[in-house]
């Protein structure tokens, strides 16, 4: 059993899956994780600063992002949550789609 603490709560949902090859493929995966955590991971991996505009960062996200391409990574997070992004140097701005 793997534990993680999300927002002061112990979460046991995610199990370590031997078939999950994500750790081999240079990527991060999540199951039912708030967007905030996902974005933190993204900041660490690509060494960027992420700003959000009127975005609900409590939305639960399942999936993952690649470590190879920042655009593909950003798309796989923003598209499901109906968000858009802009890259300005080392800063990424995430906002609601269509705004």
């Amino acid at each position: 059993m793997l534990f993680r603490v999300v927002k002061q709560q112990i979460d046991t949902i995610s199990r370590f899956n031997l078939n999950d090859k994500s750790w081999l493929e240079n990527e991060s995966t999540f199951t039912s994780v708030p967007l905030e955590i996902v974005l933190n991971e993204l900041e660490n991996h690509f060494n960027i600063n992420i700003e959000t505009k009127d975005v609900n960062t409590n939305l639960l996200y399942s999936g993952g992002f690649t470590h190879k391409d920042i655009n593909i990574a950003l798309q796989s997070i923003t598209v499901p949550l109906q968000l858009s992004y802009k890259i300005e140097n080392k800063t990424v701005i995430i906002y609601n789609y269509g705004k």
């Binding site: 995966t29 939305l59 399942s62 999936g63 992002f65 798309q75 598209v79 499901p80």
Partner: protein
């Protein structure tokens, strides 16, 4: 039958079982995605809320990732997009779906073609095809579709709502009447007869079933089945609503006020029922938009939609042949045309003979002792309509109608050993036109500007060849009017209608003789202006329309204020009450002449009010009713009280000694009307009963209060209809009512000498009563398809199956052989009269 049902049971079980099996197979989408991730080297990214609660069945033939994505895109409302070899995004965003639908009219479920389908906030859009269908292959799931059609309430539908399996979504559009008046009973008596929230009854000819004795949906014959609507002499030119004379009905055809509406001098309606789409009858609580017609308002409307393919039909019965065609010219322009002509001047059928005798009994045409006669009678009517839609919000309509009856009569007889030849001719004609401009300026505001023109002429000439004497009479009405009205919807339940009305009527009466030269002509013109306003409210529980009309007559410097009230309240699930009240007036009325005016065929002339001898007729009426409806059973009971003032003796026409007096009086009609209607599968039965009392009050008579000419105490209409299947229908019905009053001469002193003339010495009017009227009618209808789009209909009807001799009127003449004696003349109703019709519609 029972066996068949038992056989069906196992199938039903199999079906239900199969259906529940289908349900069990579905799994949460999230599980399916995880499974796929395990099988194929992919990763789905999604928002947890989007995927939750979605269940799918596993794809059967999808193995590759491309196939799976395809399958998921089809089955779900989510967009699956492969962003690289491994990552697949799952999003509501940019979800592309294909949609299809079918647009139908809410009431008659007819497809609406050329309806506009627009994607909101984009320039994407298409129109429906001739079957009302449309499809858009690629559209975002988040899009909103706007379905609109001229004259209908537009609908906004989320694209996702289209996502139904296999079948295209059916969209019903409701006609935007800018009126809150709705249909409350969809099927009264027979299909196509509907009742509205304001108590008015609408006849939709296209959906119309059959009524006993009728071989076509004869518009004016049909409304006589309604309680409170009588015709004491069986003709459509004499419709008596709640005890009022015929001239107290306001009859409007596509905005044109009509003065002549029956062929055969009244036996059949002059309007092509296949082009007339809707007929509404209002007995009380009229909208303030309408003036005149103190007893009723009968509104006829032809089809008002553009066509996208040619629609037409042709038919004949034993009197006439007719055809109609509705055709598109361009996308925005359509033309409707209809014509009917009798072939009575070429061919005598039994129907014609009966109708002829009924129409022309006891007048100069058939009563003379004639050696040789030649009659030539024909009627025709045609109408024309142009429909142009400028855009979705503005439309123009132009209408034209012409109705004509012509009778030529030649008689040769012997008088003092001389052969005398007389040629007579009678024509009755109404020509009319109207123009409408309708505009919706916003969702809340609409306007209508309209103009109409109507010209009625009846002409008779009586030519005596031997003496070379020609007597001509003419009665002409020329009316035109302009109306501007606006509707402002304050909320969805509440709206204000306001308008202005300008109206001019001219009436001419002429009599001329060539030798000795004699000419009398009388021509009057009356101009009337009116402002009207009303508030209309409808929230499913309460319908209320409260209005006021202010009329002004320049000539008399007279204002008439007329409040109009119409309220219907839901008391419980199946129970309603209603209240109607109105004040109305009319400035034109018919005068009945007993001289052989117009050859004695049509004895009525239109005359205009002069506020002198002929005052403006004014009415007040109130009615209260209850309605109960449960499934297929309906019952409706209404009590009414109506008082009409300023009627004249010559307007009513009495057989009495003072019949030429211009005495002014009133009548009061009160009664109870009942409708009961029950439908069980293919069988329906209805009953309409009126109990009424109708008395005049004329000071010049003793007693001053006496029964109205049209006082029918009990009147019962009933019918049963049975549909064997969609093709074959029969209808059987009866009319039973009290006989109308009539006047006898003074017993023992039957005649009177006045200036060398002997006349009948009538007693107090309407003290006697004719025997009860009873008639049994039946009709059958059979329709079949020649081909996919061509339909044939055969109908046969019999009026007065029992060939009962009903006396509908009695009066007296001085016996030519004995001046002291009188003879009673009885007018009888139609004898056993069969008629058949056959028509083809495409």
């Amino acid at each position: 039958m029972a066996n068949k049902k038992l056989l069906l049971l196992p199938f039903l079980f199999v079906f239900l079982f199969g259906f529940s099996q289908e349900k069990i197979k579905k799994i949460p989408l999230q599980d399916f995605l995880q499974e796929t991730e395990k099988k194929i080297d992919v990763k789905f990214s999604f928002s947890v809320v989007d995927v939750a609660e979605i269940y799918i069945s596993k794809p059967k033939n999808a193995n590759s990732i491309a196939e799976i994505i395809d399958y998921l895109n089809r089955e779900t409302n989510l967009q699956f997009t492969k962003i690289d070899n491994r990552f697949i995004t799952v999003s509501k965003l940019n979800k592309v779906i294909s949609i299809c639908g079918k647009v139908l009219d809410f009431i008659n479920e007819e497809p609406l073609s050329l309806a506009s389908i627009k994607v909101n906030n984009s320039d994407k859009g298409i129109t429906t095809d001739q079957n009302g269908r449309f499809s858009i292959p690629e559209i975002f799931a988040s899009d909103e579709i706007i379905v609109s059609y001229l004259g209908y309430k537009p609908l906004k539908i989320d694209a996702l709502d289209f996502k139904q399996k296999e079948n295209c979504k059916i969209i019903y559009l409701e006609e935007q009447s800018f009126s809150l008046n709705e249909i409350v009973i969809r099927r009264l008596f027979t299909s196509g007869l509907q009742k509205n929230s304001d108590g008015s009854v609408t006849l939709n000819t296209e959906e119309f079933g059959i009524l006993p004795g009728q071989i076509q949906p004869d518009i004016l014959q049909t409304i006589k089945v309604l309680p409170g609507v009588e015709s004491v002499d069986e003709t459509v030119s004499n419709i008596n609503v709640r005890g009022g004379t015929n001239d107290q009905n306001l009859i409007i055809w596509d905005g044109i006020k009509m003065y002549h509406y029956g062929h055969f001098f009244g036996l059949i309606s002059a309007y092509n029922p296949y082009l007339t789409n809707k007929v509404s009858v209002v007995k009380n609580g009229t909208s303030s938009e309408f003036s005149d017609g103190v007893s009723s308002t009968i509104l006829m409307e032809t089809k008002n939609d553009l066509e996208n393919e040619i629609v037409g039909g042709a038919g004949f019965d034993l009197l006439s042949a007719d055809f109609f065609v509705r055709t598109p010219i361009t996308n925005k322009l359509s033309v409707h045309f209809s014509a009917r002509r009798s072939f009575t001047d070429y061919l005598n059928t039994p129907t014609y003979t009966n109708y002829f005798e009924r129409s022309f009994q006891d007048n100069t045409v058939v009563s003379n002792e004639v050696n040789e006669t030649e009659t030539d009678f024909f009627f025709y009517d045609y109408s024309f309509k142009l429909l142009y839609n400028l855009n979705e919000n503005q439309s123009f309509r132009a209408n034209f109608i012409n109705i004509k009856n012509n009778l030529d009569y030649k008689e040769t007889y012997q008088e003092n050993n001389n052969t005398i030849v007389e040629n007579s001719n009678l024509t009755q004609e109404n020509v009319g036109g109207s123009f409408f401009w309708n505009a919706n300026w916003s969702d809340h505001f609409s306007s209508e500007a309209s103009f109409f023109y109507s010209n009625y002429i009846i002409n008779s000439s009586d030519f005596n060849r031997n003496s070379n004497q020609l007597l001509r009479r003419k009665n002409e009405v020329l009316e035109s009017g302009f109306t501007l009205k606006t509707g402002y919807k304050i909320t969805n339940n509440f709206q204000l209608n306001t308008g202005f009305d300008f109206n001019e009527i001219g009436v001419a009466n002429q009599t001329s003789v060539n030798a000795p030269e004699f000419f009398v002509s009388d021509k009057k013109v009356l101009i009337k202006n009116a402002l009207f306003t009303e508030a209309e409210f409808n929230n499913q529980k309460t319908y209320a329309r409260i209005g006021l009309r202010a009329n002004y007559f320049y000539k008399f410097d007279l204002f008439l204020f007329e409040p109009r009230v119409n309220i219907r309240q839901k008391m419980s699930r199946n129970f309603y009450t209603k209240l109607e009240a109105e004040l109305k007036h009319q400035s034109i009325a018919q005068q009945i002449d007993f001289e052989d005016n117009f050859l004695g065929v049509e004895k009525r002339r239109w005359v205009l009010s002069d506020e002198n001898n002929v005052p403006i007729i004014q009415s007040k009426q109130v009615s209260f009713g209850v309605e109960y409806a449960l499934n297929n059973f309906q019952i409706d009971i209404t009590g009414f009280y109506k008082k009409v003032e300023n009627i004249t003796v010559s307007n009513q026409g009495f057989y009495n000694n003072v019949q030429n007096l211009n005495a002014v009086g009133s009548y009061t009609s009160k009664g109870i009307e009942l409708i009961a209607n029950q439908k069980i599968n293919n069988f329906s039965a209805w009953l309409s009963y009126t109990f009424a009392e109708n008395d005049y009050d004329f000071d010049v008579f003793t007693p001053s209060v006496f029964p109205n000419n049209l006082d029918i105490c009990h009147s019962l209409n009933s019918a049963i209809n049975y549909n064997f299947n969609d093709q074959f229908k029969i209808s059987l019905g009866s009319v039973l009512r009290t006989g109308k009053p009539f006047t006898k001469p003074v017993e023992g002193n039957e005649t009177l000498q006045i200036n060398n003339r002997t006349i009948v010495n009538y007693d107090s009017p309407n003290q006697e009563r004719l025997p009860n009227f009873f008639r049994l009618d039946a009709s059958v209808s059979y329709n079949f398809l020649f081909s996919k789009n061509i339909k044939g209909t055969f109908r046969a009807g019999i009026t007065n199956m029992l060939n009962r001799k009903n006396t509908i009127n009695s009066y007296y003449v001085v016996d030519e052989n004995d001046d002291d004696n009188t003879l009673r003349i009885n007018n009888t109703s139609l004898p056993f009269t069969p008629n058949v019709s056959f028509r083809v519609d495409f």
